[in-house]
Symmetry: none
Subunit: 210 residues, 4 copies
Amino acid sequence: MAQKTAPDSTRRSERSRRAIYDAALALVGEVGYGKMTIEAIAARAGVGKQTIYRWWPSKSAVLLDAFLDLSEQASAELSAKAGLDEVATAIPDTGDLETDLKYVLRATVDEMINPKFDAPARALAAEGVVNEQLGREFLEKLLEPQLQLYVDRLRSAQERGQVAAHIDPRVALELWTGPLAQRWLQRVGPLTHEYADTLVEYALYGIAPR
Amino acid sequence: MAQKTAPDSTRRSERSRRAIYDAALALVGEVGYGKMTIEAIAARAGVGKQTIYRWWPSKSAVLLDAFLDLSEQASAELSAKAGLDEVATAIPDTGDLETDLKYVLRATVDEMINPKFDAPARALAAEGVVNEQLGREFLEKLLEPQLQLYVDRLRSAQERGQVAAHIDPRVALELWTGPLAQRWLQRVGPLTHEYADTLVEYALYGIAPR
Amino acid sequence: MAQKTAPDSTRRSERSRRAIYDAALALVGEVGYGKMTIEAIAARAGVGKQTIYRWWPSKSAVLLDAFLDLSEQASAELSAKAGLDEVATAIPDTGDLETDLKYVLRATVDEMINPKFDAPARALAAEGVVNEQLGREFLEKLLEPQLQLYVDRLRSAQERGQVAAHIDPRVALELWTGPLAQRWLQRVGPLTHEYADTLVEYALYGIAPR
Amino acid sequence: MAQKTAPDSTRRSERSRRAIYDAALALVGEVGYGKMTIEAIAARAGVGKQTIYRWWPSKSAVLLDAFLDLSEQASAELSAKAGLDEVATAIPDTGDLETDLKYVLRATVDEMINPKFDAPARALAAEGVVNEQLGREFLEKLLEPQLQLYVDRLRSAQERGQVAAHIDPRVALELWTGPLAQRWLQRVGPLTHEYADTLVEYALYGIAPR
DNA sequence: GGATAACCGAGACGGTACGTCAAGTCTTACG
DNA sequence: CGTAAGACTTGACGTACCGTCTCGGTTATCC
């Protein structure tokens, strides 16, 4: 375990961490990931470069943490606004799978379009494509939990006979997450609520005549 | 006109271009896109840096051209091996859509797994996520032609009543290209022939009980 | 009174001070003055950085004190070994100036050659050349007392008629301290006992034919 | 010969070199050697840092070259002013050693007092004390040639019987260069023309009664 | 004998400069 | 004129220390 004597996190400056997150998110939006530099983050955050290097191994790691923090805050806010005590952690289950999926997918589209999320998420996704280590972290911490919600919802639908018994939920969910991701990241087509609806219908009933 | 007196492409050195392509593809495989530098390409190709800057605006542009060149060569070779006079430009049409799609998707999986293609394609895809200009070019020159083949094949199937009339082929094809791309780029799950087959089945017949 | 509430020296840790001296002297010998850092001294001495900054204003001040301490110890030791109660504070006065000077200069050469003294003394001398404040302190605390001994001895010789009456002792002594210092610091030539002897002879009798 | 493929000096930018010399000399005077940084030299010279690192291994090496250049210019100017075709390369030889030495030593004192020379020369001397490699270069390129002039002049005097035959000129000259250097570098006393004269007299005729 | 103020070790912090790398531009000499 | 070579300015990299600033934890008097 030849670690470089890891820093003592109890003495960490909370104010610096917040400032770094804010600076990173602001910069990735303003100049893009490629031109975002650690020096610029440090300068904008009013922080020494070393303070960044002490706690993160790379630019992408900073941005990942900043984005995770942003996501947490955002979902906490959302839940608070909805008057809930706890953070919402599931896809709605009205009993009607099609309706529920369309609802969630429309929300997903909205998020993908929101520049506040788009810029950092896109940057992280891109970096993850090429940097396996980051990709796995991105997957594990952000994507996987979301995907699991679909798995749960699909199982519930299966129990009610709304999804065929032989279907593997883990594969099925990719019928809509895959296309959405592709339109988002590769700009293969416009990202609209209508598209989301169509996707749900095609996925549920197939494209072959019934 | 403030154009920088564009270079005269008739006097361009073919040998240099080839060497640059080879160097770029080799380097992206060896050190990855992020650590691939123009200087290294020039050095490895035995070429002056200016020769690269004269003909391409950026690292990603070089790699895109190199990869396009590689793709052309590869498909030419493939066609030649198959004893054909021309390059294959269509998805097989045996009359059975399911079989044909499975065939093509398995081939796609094989390509995605082949490191010779994976490294540069992945790098370009990643860069395209974040660099809109490059992304559009990547889409237009590489993805779109492939997608169009699916559109054609789906229309043919529609005519034969194997795909419901109300289905939009342009959206339908994303039911499999999307998930495949997601597994490839985001490592959401393993990329296998079985997965490709399952995808085709789900897409064709839906996940709801028939 | 904008004094920073000077620290209370009665509560000062003797053990820390000693450890700092030892560390400073060891380091200047091992890595040289330029590469000796306050952090390294603190680490090697097992001391917090603040403990150094509390008591000294700069790296050179630490080293100066460390060296003064070393000198005191050394001359105390020397005197003890000679069975004296007090520290020797004068140049021997056998009545023969030439002999006495040669004796002292040979001892000086020996000290200049001893690496234990050479490393820190050289570092301090160098720093003093460029840092007037330190230079003056070095001069006042180390050089001047030594030089005064020569003045005293020369006056004694003058009284006995061994040195011409019109000679200014304060200048005369530089006839040998100057050359010795130059050979030591600027490596203008080898530092040997023979050289010391020659110097004394030339200084006493001049270089013109008598 | 594991050199890092030394740069091609024929393509070197003369303008950059000059600007670097000027900047280094100006800075050493303004902020002192310790606070003079390579970055500041580069900035002041309007030059990239790499251009400095390409041609010199260290701050001291830059300053040494700058000072050598300054010295050359200065002595060329001096000779030109005196209406000479060539650079003066000897100590005057009027036949009277005492006069000639006093003349030269007074000029030396003037130079040591001139801040334009003092700042860089002092810095180099200090660095040379602690950095043997630089010290040797300083000695070889600057000091030694000066000292050799004294050797020549002394030999001439010896032939004429003005210096005793048994005297070693190489040692004798240190009787005045040593003290001068010590007063200059260690501030052991004031540097004046009178001091220079006294030194010559003591050195020539000794301090013992004749 | 318990409070309390200082020093102490440790080390995080905002900074500056380091020496290196590569970007993109410019100049030189060759074919 | 395109080219190989490579010096140039610029700017970011990741590291090392600077000197300042908490943070607990010992001492070490002083009530």
